[in-house]
């Protein structure tokens, strides 16, 4: 059995296929499994787009085009409901986030235990098939969005944003002339508030998917390894969790998308007064 060679504990299955560039610097390493799978998903998504783009018809859509049209319509509706102004970048961004995260999350239905073993046959010690289980992917997306939010804040209302940073939330704590006295306090609170956005965004997705993965592994270790009865129950519990986890994947993709739209729409909110 490969169990002895590979992944005899749960923690073993939570290791990434890592290529270490610099032993001393923990930053200088790269998770090859995350990169490989996310690039594969992205490439197939682009391939699908190119394939669909060639057979788009204006009159009577069917099949894939029909489905994608309803997705685009749904995204457009969401963005329109949340946005005070029109920005042509937001809808494609939201759609990319939604579809990409959903596809990547859906990879979780692949049995990671089995895939780990298959990868092991090719000489790879650890393999994590779901890139959202790696904090790097949610963090990369969340930080990109955070930078975009900051960009729009500074581009659309620089003065107002800096004022907000320095004089809120405690605008009326001390009399007006002494407002600058509580600038440090305001700045710290506001920075925490802003930084909490990408942090919560990335950790929410990562935590959900990681926990799901851990539960899959628990099911496989505790039930499937427990004889005929364990296998019997393990099959149904695993099936139930797979269905539920699929739903969580869709939900997390949607949450990530809607929060992106909301954060960006806050940045686009016109200055009152």
């Amino acid at each position: 059995m490969s169990e002895q060679e590979h992944g005899s504990t749960i923690a073993d299955h939570l290791q990434y296929w890592t290529y270490v560039i610099d032993e001393k610097n923990p930053f200088m390493q790269i998770h090859l499994d995350t990169m490989l799978i996310s690039i594969l998903v992205a490439a197939s998504l682009v391939g699908f787009s190119l394939w669909l783009g060639k057979r788009l018809t204006a009159d009577a859509p069917s099949g894939a085009q029909n489905f994608m049209e309803s997705v685009v319509d749904f995204i457009n509706q969401t963005v329109r409901d949340n946005f005070p102004v029109h920005n042509p970048l937001i809808a494609p961004l939201a759609m990319t986030i939604f579809i990409f995260i959903f596809l990547v999350n859906t990879l979780d239905i692949l049995p990671s235990y089995l895939i780990g073993n298959i990868a092991h046959l090719f000489g790879v010690t650890h393999f994590r098939p779901v890139p959202t289980n790696d904090l790097n992917l949610p963090a990369a997306m969340a930080i990109s969005i955070f930078v975009l939010v900051l960009y729009y804040e500074f581009k659309l209302k620089p003065v107002h944003f800096i004022k907000e940073l320095l004089f809120e939330p405690f605008a009326n704590l001390v009399p007006k002339p002494f407002g600058y006295l509580i600038v440090p306090l305001n700045l710290v609170l506001k920075l925490v508030e802003e930084i909490a956005k990408p942090l919560s965004l990335s950790f929410r997705l990562f935590g959900n998917m990681f926990a799901g993965e851990v539960i899959f592994l628990l099911i496989s270790f505790l039930l499937l390894g427990g004889g005929v009865v364990g296998m019997f129950f393990g099959f149904f519990v695993g099936l139930g969790w797979t269905i539920f986890h699929l739903f969580i994947g869709l939900l997390q993709a949607f949450i990530f998308m809607i929060l992106t739209v909301v954060y960006l729409s806050i940045a686009h909110q016109p200055v009152e007064h």
């Binding site: 560039i21 930053f27 790269i30 990169m35 788009l56 790696d134 790097n136 997306m141």
Partner: protein, 160 residues
Amino acid sequence: MSIDLTFIGQIVVFLTLVFLMRKYLYGPLNDLLEGRAKKIAEGLAAADAGKEAKAVAEAEIKELLKASRARAQEIVSAAEKRAAEVSEEAVNKAREDGQNIVDAAREEVTAEIERARQGLRKEVADLAVLAAERVLGAELDAKRHAKLIDGVISQGIGRA
């Protein structure tokens, strides 16, 4: 579970994917949807315009129908009036003609009577002369005594 170079790689993957998706998936589909929405809106507007035009045309037709009906009524009543006039005229003319004929006949009859009276007068004069000749036994000079005879006759006729 640590942040490392994968993070940078994922940012690159994500941004590239956003760019490509915008170019190849969202862009064409959105253009398509917008085009279709526009087309539908245009179609609906055209349908509305058509409906309106139809309503206008129907009103116009009603108006025209009403006008032509009135005109027809006018023409008919004018024709009736004219016909009545014509028949009246004909009757009048016939009456007049009849009167004329009657008058002419009456005149002719009067002239005939007059002529007959003249003839009679002359014959009576001749007869009177003849009778006087017979009575007197001598032939009266008809020309010389014509005045006398005429006077007697006219006296006689006047008496008669």
